[in-house]
């Protein structure tokens, strides 16, 4: 039967090619080796070429940065700063993401609400929201609250706009399938619209994560006495380039960790989507 033949072909194409691990894993190992090599080369260049040529006052050096990170860890100051930044990042991210999904859903699902609110969302979205920082501080003081609000405002619009698009993108045929089976609106929401829009929502959650960190750091730079953003600004104020670089390294590690976390979640939830390249 032609059908069975085509099935067999499709199945092997869809499964990860387990037969030839050699061909798959060789370039993978190579990529990793080159990556590590490149990283080591860049650090070495900084340490033994850049720093001696330029003034360590401006460019510091990897060994100095490592020493500083060690000092911060030893005296525990990094824990205070890190927790402060992470707290505003996570709380703000959670608030922004949840409210973004809720509002995006409403706008995508209820045509009237969407029609009315669309220009408002677009107008607020086009505003550079970090410029709202002084206003948030005026309203909420200089503790965590204004930073959380800053993060939430950045995350909210990314997530809301994507959720709205995802909900509007749902194939109406899928909705009809359940309608005809006699499902109510709540069931349709749970069984079609949510899973169908999930890809869009996950993508926006991933995009919004670095924004959350940006929001927290900028909030701390505007007015704060704690946090990684404050630490970097403070180091700049006392002309301490080592402190700035050490702060940047910490931020980069947080950002990378968060992105990986979200990516793992997304991979788990979209097993049904073909993984590209496999």
């Amino acid at each position: 039967m032609s059908e069975q033949i085509s099935t067999a072909v499709e199945l092997t194409a869809a499964e990860p090619a387990g037969k030839k691990p050699q061909r798959i894993s060789m370039p993978y190992v190579l990529v990793n080796v080159v990556r590590v090599g490149l990283f080591a080369a860049l650090i070495a260049c900084w340490q033994w070429v850049l720093t001696p040529l330029a003034d360590p006052f401006y460019v510091s050096s990897p060994s100095r940065v490592a020493m500083r990170l060690w000092e911060w860890t030893a005296d525990g100051s990094i824990v205070v700063d890190l927790l402060y930044t992470l707290e505003s990042t996570f709380v703000g991210y959670a608030i922004g993401a949840l409210s973004g999904v809720a509002v995006g859903f409403l706008m995508g699902r209820v045509k009237f609400v969407g029609d009315v609110l669309d220009p408002f969302l677009d107008a607020l979205n086009s505003l550079p929201r970090v410029a709202l920082g002084p206003l948030f501080i005026l309203w909420l003081g200089i503790d965590l609250a204004p930073k959380i609000l800053m993060v939430a405002s950045l995350v909210f619009f990314v997530v809301a706009a994507n959720t709205r698009a995802g909900v509007r993108d749902v194939n109406p045929d899928y909705i009809n399938v359940l309608r005809i089976m006699g499902a109510d609106e709540k069931t349709i929401l749970r069984k079609v619209i949510l899973p169908s829009a999930a890809g869009w929502i996950y993508a926006s959650l991933q995009v919004a994560l670095p924004w959350a960190l940006i929001g927290a750091v900028i909030g701390e730079m505007i007015a704060s006495d704690k946090g990684m953003g404050y630490q970097i600004l403070h180091s700049g104020g006392i002309l301490d380039s080592t402190g700035i670089f050490a702060g940047l390294v910490v931020l980069m590690i947080i950002g990378l960790t968060l992105t990986h976390l979200i990516r793992m979640l997304e991979r788990h939830s979209s097993r049904w989507r073909p993984q590209d390249g496999k």
Binding site: M1, S2, E3, S6, T7, E10, L11, A14, N171, D173, Y174, N176, V177, L178, R179, I180, M181, G182, A183, T187, K191, V192, P195, S196, A198, S270, R271, W272, R273, P274
Partner: protein
């Protein structure tokens, strides 16, 4: 049973109002297999959508067991022309969709899913996602998804339209097997005359747009039927020729 009483359906388009279905009156008795044939784009699907409750007629009524169609109920299932398996669900999860709306024990759900998946010859594909199935397998999964909740009536809109000729015959056979197992009422839209004659108790021929009933032809071939044999048999060919004569006039009209 389904009764169409002077049903008309119109659509507003940017070039004014288009009448898709015009004054159709038709009774479809219980447990009958009825095929709608007609030139493509004539409005057969629209009539089916009106039967499903997806489209509201501008004139006339559609009643089911004497009650006018309003909203949806589980007595009528619909297998559409488009691929509508949910891509994020596995085959088994797709097929059990309707059962999730009832309060059934997990064992009951599992056994029914297995039974219907094996009826459409998809055992062993429970955990495959739609993208991992061939076109014919996806169609069969879609059939099982509708048949599993055992609706009294099943509406089908060119379910095999996109399949190649041999596969189509196999699918027809499986559909008839499925149908013999519970004898629901079926309304089946197709543009393939041989398919209609092979499957149906009655073939309803429609005119080109707007759809009006041109003729109703009873098909008295004995059951159970085997589409693989019937397809090229002289009886079927003769009836097809007769129906083709009716359709030809309609096609000429379209061409002029």
């Amino acid at each position: 049973m389904f009764t169409f009483n002077n049903v008309s359906v119109e659509f507003g388009t940017n070039r004014g109002i288009v009448r898709a279905v015009d004054n159709v009156s038709l009774d479809i008795p219980k447990q009958n297999f009825v095929c709608f044939v007609g030139p493509s784009g004539c409005g057969k699907t629209t009539l089916l959508n009106a039967a499903a409750g997806l489209v509201t007629p501008c004139g006339g009524t559609v009643t089911y067991n004497g009650i006018p169609r309003s909203g949806f109920n589980r007595k009528v299932g619909y297998v559409t022309q488009n691929e509508t398996l949910f891509p994020w669900r596995t085959t088994a999860e797709n097929v059990r969709l309707a059962l999730e709306l009832e309060n059934l024990s997990p064992e009951e759900v599992r056994s029914r899913v297995s039974r219907y998946l094996s009826l459409v010859k998809l055992d062993g594909f429970h955990d495959h996602y739609p993208r991992q199935l061939s076109g014919g397998m996806r169609r069969r999964a879609a059939l099982a998804r509708t048949w599993i909740y055992e609706p009294e009536t099943v509406l089908m809109d060119e379910p095999f339209g996109a399949l190649d000729a041999q596969l189509k015959l196999v699918m027809q056979k499986q559909l008839l097997d499925l149908w013999e197992s519970n004898r629901s009422t079926v309304i089946f839209v197709t543009h393939d005359l041989a398919e209609a004659v092979t499957l149906a108790d009655q073939v309803v021929v429609f005119t080109s747009r707007p759809a009006r009933i041109k003729a109703v032809r009873k098909i008295d071939l004995p059951r159970p039927r085997d589409p693989l044999r019937l397809h090229f048999s002289p009886e079927v060919q003769a009836i097809c020729a007769e129906l083709w004569g009716l359709l030809e006039d309609e096609l000429k009209e379209v061409l002029q």
